[in-house]
């Protein structure tokens, strides 16, 4: 006869809600803290001659600029997390961001449309582009990898055609989204893009947790067939997720051109790699069904910190490539092992739920 243990069940429940929301991310969080600690130590011993004052890495100025630096990648990473949870991938985000950026910049420069309509055009173009791609991916069995690769090249061409290879300077006509900040101290500034990033992360997190859409995202990524049988319109679902990704891309491009005051032809190039790397480092599986936006956030900050720290420590730029690559591998590795350890520590001898 199977024993019933309701007290234990409650305990399990608490332990497990924690586990689900936090556990997944705890190992990557651990890696982040480790990296921060290492960098601080390195700075202390190497750069600052063992004086704790003036540690540049943890200075409020540096923290605010790191946060600002990662916000574009971060917002793209939110969309990418959704796409990847669903089992897809989108290599076109970098170029699409560039395309929307130069499109908007050229409209702003032309100056004969009100700003709100330009924003609207940018957003809807991004969404339509992604929907188009989503249409192909969801209606056929083509791999999202190759389809989005094709679109990446198409957007690149669009960028060159719009810009004719030249940068489009927009001056200060579009400052709000990328340049305003709340100045807590003169050094510690919280930029609007950072606030937006955190806000979007929270919204998406809640949406994933408390809406059907979110719960279904995992299921579609986990087993498409079974999702279909459970009454999910898998095809349309996928379509909308790509569309949603377009929304995030458009936000990212606005921040980008606002922050750089320019729409540049090579602006988003290679961004997709950073984004995917951050998302994967943050624990989202390429095969879909596993991961969350907080993990992606930590992954984005981790990779952002690594670049920043290597700069601050004055590491030779050529070594930076080596170290950055090494740290990416190392952080997924540590994440994996600390994940393993945690699993084997969980309690034994619980046999029945009911």
């Amino acid at each position: 006869m199977i024993k019933k243990d309701l007290v234990n069940e409650k305990k399990w429940e608490n332990a497990l809600t924690k586990k689900l929301m936090h556990h997944e991310n705890s190992s990557i969080l651990f890696v982040l803290l480790l990296v921060i600690a290492l960098v601080v130590l390195a700075e202390f011993f190497l750069a600052r001659g063992m004086v704790f004052k003036d540690l540049a890495f943890l200075s409020s100025r540096n923290i605010s600029s790191v946060l600002q630096q990662v916000s574009i990648t971060g917002i793209l990473a939110i969309g990418m997390t959704l796409v990847m949870l669903m089992g897809g991938i989108d290599l076109s985000v970098g170029q699409l961001m560039g395309f929307i950026g130069v499109l908007m910049a050229s409209l702003i420069k032309a100056g004969n449309l009100p700003m709100w309509s330009i924003v609207l055009i940018g957003m809807s173009t991004a969404i339509v582009c992604e929907l188009l791609m989503g249409l192909i991916i969801s209606r056929t069995k083509l791999e999202s990898f190759i389809v989005s690769l094709g679109f990446m090249s198409i957007y690149q061409g669009f960028i060159y055609l719009i810009t004719n290879g030249r940068e489009i300077s927009i001056g200060d006509k579009f400052e709000f989204i990328g340049k305003t900040s709340i100045n807590i101290t003169s050094n510690f500034k919280i930029f609007s893009s950072v606030i937006l990033y955190v806000l979007l992360t929270v919204i998406v997190w809640l949406a994933i947790k408390y809406t059907k859409f979110g719960r279904r995202l995992y299921f579609v990524g986990g087993n498409e067939n079974s999702a279909f049988l459970a009454g999910i319109g898998v095809k349309n679902f996928k379509l909308w997720v790509y569309g949603l990704n377009g929304f995030f891309v458009s936000i990212a491009s606005m921040i980008m051109i606002s922050r750089l005051s320019t729409g540049g032809p090579n602006m988003g190039q290679g961004k997709e790699i950073d984004v995917i790397a951050s998302v994967v480092v943050g624990g989202t599986a390429m095969s879909g069904g596993k991961g969350n936006v907080w993990g992606a956030l930590i992954g984005v900050i981790l990779l952002g910190c690594i670049s920043n720290a290597l700069n601050i420590l004055g590491v030779n730029p050529y070594y930076q490539y080596v170290m950055k690559g090494g740290l990416i591998v190392l952080s997924v590795f540590i994440g994996y092992y600390s994940g393993l350890r945690k699993k084997s520590k969980t309690r034994l001898n619980q046999r029945s739920i009911a």
Binding site: E167, L260, N308, I312, P317
Partner: protein, 366 residues
């Protein structure tokens, strides 16, 4: 001297008043950041020269690399401000984002210098020094040379990385020169991305397509090497001098780097318009030194190639290789003193402005 104002409205001369030029400034503890645009030959030469020259003044340099990304460049500037360096020098592949970087440096009180393309300056922000070059002008010089020597020629170009200021600029300059001379318009091929590897298939396809052409304008020496290799493999004669009496394809390029000299001497490359990165970097360091020692200097200078290199004058080329460069500098093979370039900039300023205007007009037309 009275402040001179350029077309973009920035004040280009600074005289720091009230300082005693004799006060020895301690350059030893100065830490500079050099933010390089990307990892390749051209930029490596910048970085090497900058570091070496700065070291010769006793300063320390941390070099960073933006991998051609405007966003990364801005992040690098921010990081260096956080790291507390004494001055930042930036060379950018594009000028996007420079206004944000300058604003950040200004607000942190860190002097910032630019080498290469013109940064965007917004009202109220300032940079402490700027050594510009003009790829449009270099392309124009190459184009002019072609239009003088081969007025009937049909020209094609293999541009550098699309979307980069320099790549697009030199094509514009070259096309403009042809246009002015009333020659057949320039045909732009696919991008060789500054590399031999990417150039070879483009050149092969060009030849196979049966397209007639007489002159190839290669974006840089490396591209030219690819072009020459294919021509040689296909046994297509190469013409090096207008007066050598042979028929063949003329290959011209920009760079004038050391291996380009060999290519000219070996009888492949006809001319190369030199833009030695080492010199620009050198001048930038000199500006920084002046800034620290509070000596007067011109905030903005533009350098343009004084000669076009061909097989006969390669000895006048300024080296891209650090050791050779430092040797040439020590032996005064070329002018390296900042004041020389300040003067020549003064002299040529009107010409430059006219040229810039001509470019604007040309671009508006096309």
């Amino acid at each position: 001297p009275a402040p001179v104002t350029t077309s973009d409205g920035t004040d280009t001369t600074v005289l720091t008043p009230g300082t005693n030029a004799d006060t020895a400034v301690d350059l030893k503890n100065k830490k500079l950041a050099f933010i390089n645009a990307g990892p390749d030959d051209y930029y490596a030469a910048f970085g090497n020269a900058f570091t070496a020259v700065a070291k010769s003044y006793g300063m320390n340099v941390a070099e960073l690399n933006s991998a051609y990304s405007a966003e990364k460049e801005l992040a690098n500037v921010q990081d260096m401000i956080s790291a507390g360096v004494d001055a930042i020098a930036v060379i950018s592949a594009n000028t996007a984002g420079s206004s944000a970087a300058i604003a950040a440096a200004n607000s942190a009180g860190v002097p910032i210098f630019y080498v290469g393309g013109k940064p965007e300056l917004q009202a109220g922000s300032e940079i402490q020094g700027h050594v510009t070059d003009s790829f449009v002008m270099m392309g124009y010089m190459a184009g002019q040379w072609v239009s003088e020597k081969y007025p009937q020629a049909k020209c094609v170009t293999i541009p550098g990385q699309l979307g980069q200021r320099m790549a697009e600029g030199e094509v514009v300059g070259f096309a403009m020169a042809l246009d002015e001379a009333g020659m057949t318009p320039l045909k732009v091929l696919a991008s060789g991305e500054w590399q031999k590897e990417k150039t070879v298939p483009i050149m092969e396809a060009l030849i196979d397509s049966g397209e007639k052409f007489d002159v190839v304008f290669a974006a840089n020496d490396e591209t030219a090497f690819g072009v020459i290799q294919v021509l040689k493999e296909r046994d297509i004669p190469i013409k090096q001098y207008p007066d050598d009496g042979k028929d063949g394809i003329v290959v011209v390029s920009n760079n004038g780097k050391d291996s380009g000299w060999d290519a000219m001497k070996d009888g492949g490359l006809a001319i190369s318009v030199p833009n030695p990165p080492s010199l620009s970097a050198d001048l930038c360091v000199q500006q920084i030194v002046k800034y620290f020692s509070k000596e007067p200097y011109k905030k903005q200078i533009q350098i343009t190639p004084s000669i076009i290199l061909d097989a006969k004058n390669t000895d006048k080329g300024i080296s891209w290789v650090l050791d050779t460069y430092m040797k040439q500098r020590a032996n005064n093979v070329f002018e390296w003193n900042l004041s020389y370039y300040e003067e020549s900039y003064d002299k040529n300023m009107v010409k430059y402005e006219k040229f810039d205007k001509a470019v604007d007009d040309y671009m508006a037309k096309h």
